[in-house]
Amino acid sequence: MDSVDKAILNEVQGNFPVSSDPYGDVGKKLGISGEEVLTRVKALKQNKIIRKVGPFFDAKKMGHRSTLCAVHVPEEKLRETADIISSYVEVTHNYLREGSPNVWFTLIAENEGEIERILSEISDKAGVGPIRNLPARRMFKIKVDLKLKG
């Protein structure tokens, strides 16, 4: 990652231009061509420095509900249960963690009923439970991006 890459990252992290020629716009600011910006963004993505490009939505403003769920799964059922949980597109993160409960996952769905439905389906299919549904009661902070020094 060189200084041009860092300049591009700082430019596109928080504010990818919504225009007819976004890469050209970024290029103009940095004095390079739009094609070069795109080539570099592609490489940053391939090297997994960029995780995702696109829109970041406010789940709540779209009327969606998000929650963190926890369930204790016995060792012998772990693989199967984890696969069942991860198979839902509504599940965005799913981890095995130390202690009990040991499986923690996040869920975003169109409404509360959908969340309940998915949790009871997981519980039935995997034969595990109770699944603790732990939506945030109050949110104090959500990730801010890090600026890179050139």
Binding site: Q13, V18, K61, T92
Partner: protein, 158 residues
Amino acid sequence: MEQKDIDIIRALQNEEFYFELNPFAKIAHKLNMELDLLLERIKQLKEAGIIRRFGAAMTPHKAGFSSNAMVTWNVPLEHENEAAEAMAAHARVSHCYLRDGFEGFPFTLYTMVHANSPEDLEVVLDELAELGNVKERRVLKSLKEYKKSSPVYFPEKM
């Protein structure tokens, strides 16, 4: 939400478009919509806060933080807001929420903490304990990542 917006939101989530020149022209074409109208509607969705931002997200690990942990704290109800605010103000805390406790798990304050090493993580956690005046914590160390993806809004049902 109107069907037209749902169609736009679905199309915007297809990441492949962004690795080509003129991504929005391609999205407009897919939606059978004028480019100008699409750009205008995206701007309105941003102004309404439905789109928080348009951009690129970096992998935290690649940004220099190698020890990241989900840490929960057992904080008395009467000073939970105070403790949460104090911890949220710490630069190494990226997420900070209050959730309900449950049987056998009295920890209600959840933080995502980023550090450069396991030793650094301990230092940061001790700082947070002092800031929030909380004695008992549990680090939910991740042993295995089964899935990590971006949320999909309005997924197409199979």
